[in-house]
């Protein structure tokens, strides 16, 4: 098999699919570690619909950040990925249509170089770093906070591109709601929640059920070398997905200044793995189950806020009919099932000590363990621990937020420093809304247990892997007025010791710490409140991601990082009528590491309109990809859907 070596790409495709598929089935509903301890109920509630503001995240209050309020998209069929796509600095990659694995890139970092937290609990599984956003229940979220930059000091190892904090809905009053949507290719979603309680405690129970056949049609050229080539119109097969997610949370006041809360989140799903359009895999499927259970107690004594929390996470993933090159028949002797189980537990304590009247010092200690076990991997476990100090220092109209974290994960240890500052130079007058900010950080990402130990088919582990490292600086200016917010920022980051899967002859691939990169960019966001209950939003990202690896790749751009991305949306929300129109444009981006193959630029237009038909009931109709562009693709020739239509009914009571 001589040139099987050149089939590394296929092997890498498989690897990506595997890692995406092995992203832990999401769970997680807990109380943020840092949130409540420093100040009683220090919720980072945004004032605006979408805010670039210094209070976006309690852990990193001066980081460049965007807050996405989920209820601003009520009546729309939105996945977590689609909510994230409204923010600058974010690019998303999907292995197909609805229900198929979708991953996040912040500021050009890879999916496993950004943290995704569900109410403070990291969702990165021990087996694979990338979080599959499609396993997260968007309907059960209150908001998403996207903080960008190297934020390891504030959030822990792995936050090289930034952090996405998913904030689940919290019980507010005795109420409930439900939403049902039905759309193209039998895509449907049913979600509902009930909020209950009394003066001493409150709870919420929510559920989200998703289904899709995913059998959309797509077009691809038969002979791409020939201008004006005919296209093949095909129907996506084996792209179905089913998922159910559950959220339970309860908070109980146990004393005048302390409370305890519990959270349980679980999800289970199964889906076909359709493969790239050039080589569909009709027999591959993945089944996953997972859950998070967390408990926290928090309070305040003598002006010192304190909290303690424990959480545990369990995930299981089973792959059937999956092979390195293509698929196979489940049940055949040469087509064994692959099963991975992973667990993670952690305990955390935090105290917030006021220093004078304007400053606050938060000290956090955490320790835990993660493990992975499975047929291709064997059993492995490792411990972790960290000690962090974060300061919130305020000097008039300026604030400084130094942070440092010492952390050990398995055999990897590092210290992550970081600092951010903001300054509003004018207290009054026309320029009062002006704010300047800057930040810097240095951190690391330890190799995942998959990278260290996963041995499956053509993928070899490398127990000798070391951590990746990155640093970044950024600065920005923000204008934040009542009806108009604009934020412009720029960043510069360097990555070294990046883990890259390399050919390991004759036909396998193996990870090594060989890559390096420089990533710089500009992020712009504008939010404007307009007359007639209109809100306009625009976010733009420019990215220059350059490969610094010695050799033939050096100097070229990193693949799958779009240099330009623009999202624009105009929404109307009134008492009786609502609607929106939005455009999502992505520039052409490199498809390989040599600047010789590109994914074409893509423009997607979406629109929706709805009306309140009774006191509690809204009916909406939504159309996506209005141009019916069926040639759109994402990673590794995975096609994306053309025009889709959905009807949505929702009610609150």
């Amino acid at each position: 098999m001589p040139r099987a070596l050149s089939a590394t790409r296929r092997c890498l495709e498989f690897l990506v699919a595997l890692l995406l598929a092995s992203a832990p089935a999401r769970g997680g509903e807990a109380v943020p570690t840092g949130n409540a301890t420093a100040e009683p109920r220090p919720q980072a509630e945004p004032v605006d619909v979408l805010v670039t503001g210094s209070r976006a995240s309690v852990r990193a209050p001066a980081a460049e950040a965007t807050v996405v309020q989920a209820d601003e998209f009520a009546g729309e069929v939105r996945s977590v990925a689609e909510l994230l796509s409204t923010a600058p600095g974010v690019s998303l990659h999907s292995l197909g249509g609805p229900g198929q694995a979708t991953t996040l890139s912040l500021r050009g970092a890879t999916a496993d170089e950004s943290l995704v937290l569900l109410d403070g609990i990291p969702l990165h599984g021990p087996g694979g770093g990338a979080v599959d956003l499609e396993t997260l229940p968007a309907a059960l979220l209150d908001r998403i906070v996207i903080s960008r930059g190297v934020l390891g000091a504030q959030f822990g190892a792995g936050a090289l591109g930034g952090v996405v904090e998913l904030v689940p809905r919290k019980p507010k009053a005795r109420s409930g709601g439900a939403q049902l949507s039905v759309g193209s290719y039998w895509t449907g979603q049913l979600s509902g929640d009930v909020e209950f309680g009394d003066a001493s405690g409150s709870g919420l129970a929510g559920i989200q059920l998703d289904t899709t056949e995913g059998n959309f049609s797509y077009a691809q050229p038969r002979t791409p070398e020939i201008a004006g080539s005919e296209t093949d119109l095909a129907t996506r097969q084996n792209a179905y997905a089913r998922r159910g997610s559950l959220l339970l949370r309860w908070a109980q006041q146990i004393a005048a200044d302390s409370e305890v809360d519990f959270v349980l989140q679980g999800t289970a799903g199964w889906r076909g793995l359709p493969g790239p359009s050039s080589f569909p895999t009709l027999q591959s499927r993945a089944l996953d189950q997972g859950g998070v259970l967390g408990a926290r107690i928090r309070g305040e004594a003598d002006g010192i806020a304190w909290s303690g929390r424990v959480w545990g996470r369990v995930d299981r993933l089973e792959l059937r009919g999956v092979q390195i090159f293509g698929d196979c028949t489940d049940g055949d002797p040469s087509c064994p099932r692959s099963v991975e189980r992973s667990t993670a537990t952690q305990a955390e304590v935090e105290i917030g000590v006021p220093i004078g009247s304007a400053h606050l010092l938060r000290v956090t200690g955490a320790g835990g363990e993660e493990s992975i076990a499975g047929s291709p991997t064997g059993s492995h476990r490792r411990g972790s621990g960290s000690l962090a100090a974060i300061g919130d220092l305020r000097f008039g109209r300026a604030s400084v937020h130094p942070a440092v974290r010492a952390e050990i994960v398995g055999s990897q240890a590092a210290v992550s420093p970081g600092i951010a500052a903001s300054w509003s130079p004018f207290a009054k007058g026309t320029l009062a809304p002006l704010e300047l900010r800057t930040g810097a950080g240095l951190s690391f990402r330890p190799p995942t247990l998959s990278e260290l130990y996963l041995d499956q088919g053509g993928i070899l582990p490398n127990p000798d892997l070391q951590s990746e490292h990155a640093w970044s600086v950024d600065a920005g200016v923000r204008w934040r007025a009542r009806a108009f917010t604009v934020s412009v920022g720029a960043f510069w980051s360097r990555y070294r010791d990046l883990i890259s899967y390399e050919l390991f002859p004759p036909v396998r691939v193996k990870p090594f710490n060989v890559a390096a990169a420089r990533i710089a960019g500009v992020e712009v966001q504008v939010v404007a409140r307009l007359p007639y209950a209109l809100t306009a939003l625009a976010s733009y990202s420019y990215l220059d991601a350059v490969n610094l690896r010695p050799g033939i790749e050096g100097g070229h751009h990193l693949s799958y990082r779009p240099p330009h991305r623009l999202f624009a949306r105009l929404a109307h929300r009134a008492d009786r009528i609502e609607g929106y129109f939005e455009a999502n444009a992505t520039s052409s981006m490199p498809r390989n590491n040599f600047d010789t193959a590109y994914l074409p630029a893509q423009l997607t237009l979406n629109a929706g309109v709805g009306a309140r038909v009774t006191e509690a009931l809204w009916l909406d109709v939504e159309a996506k990809n209005l141009l019916d562009d069926r040639t759109q693709q994402d990673l590794f020739q995975y096609p994306l859907p053309g025009f889709t239509l959905a009807a949505v009914a929702r009610a609150r009571f």
Partner: protein, 371 residues
Amino acid sequence: MRRILLLSCTLLAACGGSQQTAPPLSKIPLPKGTALKPYDPANPGTAHPYNMAAVGTKVYVVLGNLRADYGVGGPGMLTSIVPSEGVKDVIDLGGSDGKECQNPGAVRADGTKLYVACAGDFSGTTGRAVVEVDSTTAAATHTRTLSADQAPSGVAPAPDKIWLGLSGGPVLISVDRSTFALTNAAGTQTVITLDCPHTIYAYVPDLLVVGSDLYALCSSDRAGVIFRLDASTGQPKGHATVGATPTALAQTPDGRIAVVCSADNTLWIATPGSGGTITAQLAHTYASGTSTLQGVRSSARYVFTTASGSNTVQKIDVSVSPAKVVAEANTGTGSAPWDVLPLSDDAAVVSDSLSDDLTGLTAVDFKAASQ
């Protein structure tokens, strides 16, 4: 009279002889099931066709005989076909125990002899070998087994030895053509290590002998290089940088060397110079929709290439600069075309590595580019 006859034959040959050759079947099924002599009948391999070579009117295709998990399902095979008719012979390369040759990938012809490089069991240590096959008897005539660390990925017959490129490093070894031994009369083994920049890996994906020259590709994590060596001694003469992850090379109709590079989607043309030198120029950057270039071969006038990631075959005129894709064919979703063997300027046979058959392409299958 003899001159006129010779001239007529020459003209016919120059015209490609396409009028004389029956068109290939559009699909040529390959052996399966018990024909592949599975080690475990309950868990057989499938054909997995890779490289091809022509002897006379027959096309010879190596069959990997691999299972779904890419474990070896049975002995390495070589099958002969007549493109217009189908499979003729199935030649077992596995030797007495069926495991001397496993997972063959490369084959080159020299006269009536064929030489097959067997990469062996990826998960084990068996099956590394080079096998000589006599096309006249459709049988293996010599087998030289190789050590576990000498898995060959390319093969090229020279007048006095068979050159093998290894997958474990930028290394060439040779087998004496008369004795089929790894050592020469003095008892020493020829091992040529190519000066190929690399940090993590390097290997030799393909080899070719043209006259007194041996051309070898090196693919590594840091470079793609074509080397020109002495075909008799293996002494390096010159080298030139080509694209990323070169996968195959072939002589062009005008005597140069074409190299396809899968990682950066490029076709390079290397030109041998005087004194053993060699230079290489980028001839074509493929369209973004074309991916994972695998094979390259030449007809009388054109260079043909395969791209397994886009299931396409290109017909390229390299006599112009830059080279021009004059036509392209699609072999069908899921075919993963590996190697191409032109039967004429308008027809070819393609080995579909994942659909376990061969595709025959004729002029009607090629979509011509506008002039």
